[in-house]
Amino acid sequence: SLPPEAGDAPRHAAGLPKSVLPFAGSGPSPEQPATPHPAPDFDADEALELYRLLRLTRAAESRLAVLADEGLVRMAPRRAPLREAGPVGSAFAIRRATDGTGDVFAPTFRAAGALHLFGVGIEDFFRDHLAHRVGPARESGSELHRIDWQTGLLAPVVPMGLLVEVVGGWALGVRMRGEERVGVVCDSAGATSTGAWHEGLVFAAARKSPLVLVVEAPSSVERTDKQTRLTSFSEKAPGYGLGTEEADGGDVLAVVAAVRRASERARAGEGVQMVEVRYGDDDPVERLRTRILDAAAATESEVDALEADVVSRCAEGLARARSAGPPEAPETLEGVYVESERVARRIWVGPRSQKVV
């Protein structure tokens, strides 16, 4: 089920309807680019939307860090910085819908902007982390457990690699049903070491399931060394018979393009695709900003206004999330079994177990 702002939406929309976009109507108007510059080699609308999402991701993450310092969020993912482009670009690249007919997306962390594309508003994002009740997750827990089959969001379980198995199976399932949908899993480099990643991939590859695997690779060889002696994770692809793409993680437009190519190949029946997103020291947010300004896709003051808007919406969302209360215990403990009543038993004494003699 979608958050209330979602409204009705067309099926198989290439992007979410404006009403679901984080800040529909705000920010600079793309119809009026500054003119003395040459036409940009990218879609200005898309670039601005992506810029908002990257900014949102970063703003949300830095507030999450504060909440973690305050001890209010325990499981805030500590991740290397500058990694927004992988999840945001991947989420942006694929076919989204709000009625359960679009592609399915399974990010790891650092994905506030990506989650947003799949219907998780910023307030909900913080409520999840604060475990202030919202949404369908019974345990009301964290970004990690946000699942929405209507928008196509399957946020991860923590044990790494498992989602390759699951999303691969989902992709097999929708193909069996004759639907042209693609599953996308974003995973950090470490996940490639897991047996789950391997087994999931072996099976998906054997079935030619429409699965796209985004591997978010750190640039530093040192950090990678303990996991593999490779410098490129794409070297793993031939061993499974996968198609590949590579993209610079500092360049969100490149990520979008790579994931688009990969997902359309998967959709066309060419089997599992791997996209290696290679991160460096480049800041994807700054880089896109520069590119937008250089191409005069927006003016500096327009971009500044957009940023200010993101920041204030983030602050408002967090404030609302903070003031929302925690869930009530017995009610939210249901859901272990489909048919289960609300059984919450820490002590139990059989009703007639009292002394009868």
Binding site: V157, V164, V166, G169, G173, S209, Y337
Partner: protein, 342 residues
């Protein structure tokens, strides 16, 4: 679905002929796949080869390769994929070639599949079935009972039939259940001639979570399941004859959730409880049963709750050792006599 004829060997019930437990399993799968297009099968060598025990012989030809999927040797991978397919609205039935090999899928079953509903991912209509149990000289990796690896995991159901009738009805119920179900089939019962029976030629199910009273008695209650149901019956018959004592036997059928009422009512009647399981001793299911009876019927107990189980060791390969390792009818008689005379 094609309107192809039902393969000859799957028409026994239709023809009023008796079936083995294995054939009952095959019929259940066949009927559910026929009834519901969303049911499909995955497993090692289940297609071309028809399965290590031939449970799915003829299925590939009848239902096609899209619904009878031969998998690589990656139990975690294809069990996890089955979970994904369940998310996509299908009802997968996974065969683990020998249930011993479920261990690579332990991670995805306990962390993903069992928690799916709770985490908001929705129901998980998934059955994981396969052969279990000892007595076949299969050694430590082709003889395990796996219920206790999963019994502690909230969100799962565990079924372990002892008769052809139950196997068919329980498996059909499991496939229709919206929770993930682990379904254990004892190899020693698969083709046991004594278990052949004529099944009703109708679409029946046996509901999950309901035990069966195998025989009534008043001297003591034996709670058991799977292959041990039959050894317990042997023991009870011997005691009836030799001691003139009548033993009540409860076949759990579903281990999780457990039918507490059936157990407790029986113990209240007999005052004595013996639990018999083929699985090894420490941490076996006997403990949970004893705990629940203590919680609910302590005052009715006239004797200690006891258990007869396999020995705490891996399953030996050698026949002489395996016989020694497994609980035998004599053991059940010995323990039951002790209790009856207590």
């Amino acid at each position: 679905m094609t309107e192809q004829a039902v393969p000859e060997h799957l028409t026994k019930t239709r023809n009023g002929e008796p079936v083995t437990l294995l054939e009952a399993v095959s019929e259940a799968l066949f009927e559910e796949m026929t009834r519901d297009e969303s049911v499909f099968l995955l497993g090692e060598d289940i297609g071309v080869y028809g399965g290590a025990f031939k449970v799915t012989r003829g299925f590939l030809e009848h239902f096609g390769a899209a619904r009878v999927i031969d998998t690589p040797i990656a139990e975690g991978g294809f069990t996890g994929a089955a979970a994904g397919a369940a998310h996509a609205g299908l009802r997968p039935v996974v065969e683990i070639q020998f249930m011993d090999f479920i261990s690579p899928a332990y991670d995805v079953i306990t962390n993903y599949i069992a928690t799916s509903l709770y985490r908001g991912a929705g129901p998980m209509p998934l059955v994981i079935r396969g052969p279990v149990g000892g007595g076949n000289r299969g050694g430590p990796f082709h003889s395990q009972n796996v219920e206790m690896a999963f019994f502690h995991t909230p969100g799962l159901k565990i079924v372990y039939p002892s008769t052809a009738y139950d196997a068919k009805g329980l498996l059909k119920a499991a496939i229709r259940d919206d929770n993930p179900v682990l379904f254990e089939e004892h190899k020693g019962l698969y083709r046991a001639p004594a278990l052949r029976e004529v099944l009703p030629d109708e679409d029946y199910i046996v509901p999950l979570g309901v035990a069966r009273t195998v025989r009534e008695g008043d001297a003591l209650t034996i709670v058991t399941y799977g292959a041990m149901v039959h050894k317990s019956v042997e023991a009870a018959e011997r005691m009836e004859k030799e001691d003139g004592v009548s033993v009540e036997i409860i076949d759990l059928r579903t281990l999780l959730p457990m039918d507490d009422d059936a157990i407790v009512e029986s113990v209240k009647k007999t005052g004595r409880l013996l639990i018999v399981h083929e699985d090894t001793r420490t941490g076996g299911i006997a403990g949970e049963i004893a705990m629940r009876v203590s919680e609910s019927a302590f005052e009715w107990l006239d004797a200690p709750m006891l258990r007869v189980t396999a020995i705490d060791a891996p399953v030996p390969y050698s026949g002489s050792l395996e016989d020694y390792f497994l609980p035998q009818t004599d053991d059940i008689v010995e323990a039951a006599r002790y209790l009856a005379g207590y």
